[in-house]
Symmetry: C2
Subunit: 209 residues, 2 copies
């Protein structure tokens, strides 16, 4: 176990083991890039080690198994990608802003798309994680769409649950198409159209039936 807390690192700013946390972070950054480019099965510890400038065995000192590294990368991606959604209909704008921000960091989308696909394979160490994550996002969006439904702004025939799962699916699917051919689809405008169709304008009261 390595206990490198704030006190220790403050007391030894450039001591022999002052930067253990930074070292780990650098490894995760490199693994992020490698897994995004080659996938988990296709990426190697050696490539990660080369990128961070250390030996492959030193890397294993921090992450004893390859799967440990994968989980660290997945956790980092979540920290980068998750955004606090405002309540009510403003969450639509927040989603669209997130989409436009994502388009500037293509590597993150690549990583997510590759790992999500691999996660459905036998014995993939990221499967449980990916499954829980999708369920969590569905729940979160369901609450947002329920707010809209309560305000009479969800088109009749759409339930909050279906709208939430559809938004997640649409987003993921558009990212795949965009990665394979960036000129083919515009993720933000397609999601905007989806919102336009299932969410009614605020000033218009919902039809009685």
């Amino acid at each position: 176990m390595t206990y490198i807390g704030a006190v220790v690192s403050a007391g030894r700013p450039r001591g022999p083991y002052a930067g253990a946390a930074e070292r780990r972070a650098a490894i995760v950054d490199a693994a992020f890039t490698v897994f995004a480019a080659h996938g988990y099965a296709g990426g190697s510890l050696q490539k990660v080690a080369d990128l961070v400038g250390m030996s492959q065995t030193s890397l294993l000192h921090y992450f004893p198994k390859k799967s440990d590294l994968l989980l660290a990368v997945l956790r980092k991606r979540d920290e980068m990608g998750e955004v606090v959604l405002p309540p009510g209909g403003a969450f639509i704008d927040a989603v669209l802003r997130q989409v436009r921000a994502n388009e500037t960091i293509q590597g993150v989308i690549e990583l997510y798309t590759v790992l999500a696909g691999e996660a459905v394979t036998r014995g993939n160490p990221g499967r449980e994680y990916m499954s829980r994550r999708l369920a969590g996002i569905r729940d979160e969006y369901t609450r947002k769409f329920r707010d809209l439904a309560d305000a009479g702004r969800l088109r009749p025939g759409m339930t909050p649950e279906v709208a939430a799962a559809s938004l997640v699916a649409l987003w993921d699917g558009l990212q795949l198409q965009w990665l394979l051919d960036p000129d083919a689809v515009d993720i933000a405008s397609h999601l905007q159209s989806f919102f336009d169709v299932i969410v009614l304008p605020a000033e218009s009261p919902a039809p009685s039936t």
Copy 2:
């Protein structure tokens, strides 16, 4: 080139090279299963050979490179999955029938989902194929939605192009969620809701504006 037509195979039902085409088909079947379970990078020629009951080197006699096998598998998946879509609004029913049929052959969906994700990685031999395929399906669906638009049945604000790309994305994304947790989403009912929202009933004339 191997020309094993009906005449030849009928003339030599169990001759020395009567079953060359069948042998190739058996290999592709096995590769289908292996790639679905482990992905392309994660699957191995040895696993495929074991499954088909031959040596790994004999397998290479039919498919000299691993990537050749991948392309054969992708082609087979297309043959299995593609359905002739009827003209007009009946294509909606055809899509939904295809979805319900797919749910009985989970391995096909797994294969597609894994390979689609891997296709965005560097140097993946299936990338071009997957990219073209998605573009082709978008074009096909665009024509179908244009028929509906011409009949005034596409909800205003939706274009045939956006509807088509969205349908493909939604379908792919729902399959991912379903594979990771089969109880979480029902693909057919979610797609049905999508159609209900963007396609207007046949008997209702389109609004003038």
